[in-house]
């Protein structure tokens, strides 16, 4: 059974879908000749020819053209070279793509994918976490795998989904994590279902993306201190798997939400509100957050480390919660 990195698994998922369904095609800046800035689509142009389109630098056009093609029954997968540049397509995504089905009954089955996130010393414009801006928009689905298997399973599900899906690939995970993924098996991770990354009894950490791994690291340290942590990897942020979150809250009665995104307006607020509304009586402590500080992400290692949530932060916060 081959061990695949996150990136290789993602690539395999994309490749399989393109082989399976000739309506699937790729478009984006440098996705063809180069195979993307991280090589996710390396070799695709050679194999799939005209189904891999190198576009001008024009994110609005990329997403808009994908939407038009999706209307006509194709299955476009659009790449943002870095997810930071999705902000240039914000209008098209939130106003056109997100509302099309509601306004006119017209589906927009497209995927917009790209590398996101920090911990890589890439500064304020190549490290962003932009999910919150889109979680606010009804009509978009937001998917954010944390494991190699889910990278594959979710890209495949995203491509097959009838709704527009934003697909976040944490670049810190691309080559850092590996997993055995059986070849012949059809790996399909359902959209909208969270994953229990670790079972525990004393507190629940709700998180997604790179911080799943920070939380896992923290949980080991906490284990040594006799604190048993349950970790929920959301995998899909919209639609959110309320049931699994509430289930875990009712089990551990203490919740820490961890995300790499900045604090104010980050998704933790929404999750906190949902838990409050539906499981207030189950809480033995306030729902707490570990997040980035509210600043643009700086690039110097000392600064980036200060701004972003670290494993030690999670340990401290869980200690506080379980001592509450």
């Amino acid at each position: 059974m081959p061990e695949l990195t996150f990136l290789e698994a993602l690539r395999e998922g994309l490749w399989e879908e393109m082989e399976r369904d000739d309506r699937v095609f790729l478009l984006g800046e440098d996705v063809g000749a180069l195979g993307g800035a991280f090589g996710v689509t390396e070799g695709f142009a050679a194999h799939f020819g005209g189904r891999v389109i190198d576009t001008p630098i024009a994110e609005t056009a990329i997403v808009g053209a994908a939407a038009g093609a999706a209307h006509m029954g194709l299955r476009p997968v659009a790449e943002m070279q870095f997810i930071d540049f999705i902000s240039c397509a914000y209008d098209m995504l939130t106003n056109y793509v997100a509302t099309a089905r509601y306004r006119t009954g017209l589906g927009v089955p497209l995927v917009v994918r790209g590398p996101c996130g920090g911990y890589v010393r890439a500064g304020p414009f190549h490290s962003q976490n932009v999910e919150a801006a889109f979680l606010h928009t009804p009509g978009l689905k937001v998917v954010y795998p944390a494991t190699a298997r889910d990278a594959k399973g979710l890209i495949k599900s995203a491509i097959r989904d009838e709704d527009p899906v934003l697909f976040f690939e944490h670049k810190w995970l691309y080559r850092r994590i590996k997993e055995e993924i059986p070849r012949g098996e059809e790996v399909l991770t359902p959209i909208g279902v969270a994953r229990l990354a670790r079972a525990g009894t004393d507190a629940t950490i709700v998180t997604y993306g790179a911080t799943v791994w920070k939380a896992l690291e923290a949980s080991e340290a906490l284990d040594h201190q006799g604190i048993s942590v349950e970790i929920l990897d959301l995998r899909t942020l919209a639609p959110l798997d309320d049931e699994r979150i509430l289930e875990s809250v009712r089990k551990t009665n203490r919740v820490l939400i961890v995300h790499e995104d900045t604090r104010t307006g980050g998704f933790a607020g929404e999750i906190t509100a949902r838990i409050n509304e539906r499981a207030f009586e189950w809480l033995d402590a306030p729902v707490m957050r570990v997040t980035a500080h509210d600043v643009p992400l700086p690039y110097a290692p000392t600064l980036e480390d200060c701004v972003l949530p670290q494993t030690g932060d999670i340990v401290k916060a869980v200690q506080w919660l379980t001592a509450y």
Binding site: F25, G50, R51, I53, T55, P56, A58, E59, T60, A61, I62, V63, G64, A65, A66, A67, G68, A69, A70, H71, M72, G73, L74, P76, D91, M92, N95, Y96, T99, R101, Y102, R103, T104, G105, L106, G107, P138, G139, K141, D161, E162, D163, P239, E277
Partner: protein, 353 residues
């Protein structure tokens, strides 16, 4: 669209003078175009009446003076082609098969309206019939239509997409990105640039520093022609050629129509910023009056055209009678269809009885 079954009332045809076709159009087609023109105007006039009686929900946007370019450009398409109209392309939508009843329902926000009361005025579409619903954000339809044209290219279908863009909207980044993308990809897209003298209260001189929209097209390497937008047959001919070239694989084609927005931006707008003489001058250059006169010069008789006028009027009357009776949508119907799955948003907890 030329290939569409002609809805010209047969009663009009017998006895009419037969003549050689103009611009390759049969006489029946010439009359069909005429009927779309008067249908557009009659419908808008009815809407205006209803608007003044406070019977519409929201504002009224008119295409007064631009009916000619709308109808003629859409008429150059074939079945299977797709266009995306702007707020002043009611005529284009009628040509593609949208009905006065649908339009009235939209403006009256009935449950039966194509958008089921979700979006306003002529913001609706039907890809089966070949027209895509617009959104308000100007420029956005250009990339989307580039994508529709791209799908034709990728599938090697001999279909053409046609997108309208206003003189004002050419300033948007979305329009630029879409035109450029389409030009580079050489997709079968026809762009109708509507130079109508205004973008709300802003004249073209404050919108761009070139004279013609055709000059802008050149900056993308897109072949362009400029035509008198109030000359129905000139617009038809230019668009038809553009459609032919696009269909033949020659990439994006641009047709600039010089016309004039004779109403306000919407009906609430009193046009105080518009020179009176300018309005009067353009009123003398009405595309429908011109086309009517041209038809009368050998293609059709006054009684024939009168009959078409009445038939259009009757269609609008019937539609208005129908839509007037129809209720608004059920409140909770608002909560369905944001996603394919989940199909429905839950009603808020404080709304349960």
């Amino acid at each position: 669209m030329t290939s569409r079954a002609a809805p010209v009332t047969p009663a009009v045809l017998p006895g009419a003078p037969t003549q050689a076709p103009a611009q390759g159009l049969e006489r029946a087609q010439l009359l069909e175009i005429y009927r779309y023109l008067v249908l557009t105007r009659s419908l808008e006039e009815r809407l205006l009446l209803l608007y003044r009686q406070n019977k519409l929900v929201g504002g009224l946007f008119r295409s007064l003076g631009q009916e000619g370019e709308s109808v003629a450009s859409a008429y150059a398409l074939e079945r299977g082609d797709v266009l995306s109209p702007l707020i002043r392309n009611l005529g284009s939508m009628l040509v593609m098969g949208a009905t006065p009843l649908e339009v009235l329902r939209q403006y009256q926000a009935t449950a039966t309206a194509p958008s089921r009361g979700r979006d306003l005025n002529i913001h609706f579409g039907d890809l089966e019939r070949g027209f895509l619903g617009q959104i308000s954000h100007l420029g956005d339809m250009v990339p989307v239509m580039a994508g529709i044209a791209l799908s034709f290219k990728l599938r090697r279908e001999p279909r053409v997409a046609l997108v309208y863009v206003g003189d004002g909207a050419t300033s948007t980044g979305a329009c630029h990105e879409g035109l450029n993308f389409a030009a580079v990809q050489r997709v079968p897209l026809v762009v109708i640039g509507e130079y109508n003298g205004w973008a709300y209260a802003t004249p073209p001189e404050k919108q761009f520093a070139v004279r013609d929209l055709a000059d802008r097209a050149a900056g993308y390497g897109i072949p362009a022609v400029t035509v008198d937008g109030n000359d129905v047959l000139a617009v038809y001919q230019a668009t038809e050629r553009a459609v032919l070239r696009a269909r033949a694989g020659e990439g994006v084609q641009f047709v600039e129509v010089k016309t004039y927005r004779r109403s306000g931006h919407a009906e609430h707008d009193d046009q105080r910023y518009v020179p009176k003489e300018e309005l009067e001058r353009w009123a003398q250059n009405d595309p429908i009056a011109r086309y009517r006169a041209a038809l009368l010069a050998g293609w059709a008789s006054e009684p024939e055209l009168g009959a078409l006028d009445r038939s259009a009027q009757a269609e609008v009357d019937r539609a208005a009678a129908t839509s007037a009776e129809e209720p608004g949508p059920a409140p909770e119907s608002a909560l369905t269809g944001v996603y394919a799955t989940p199909a429905r948003v839950e009603l808020a907890w404080y709304r349960s009885p």
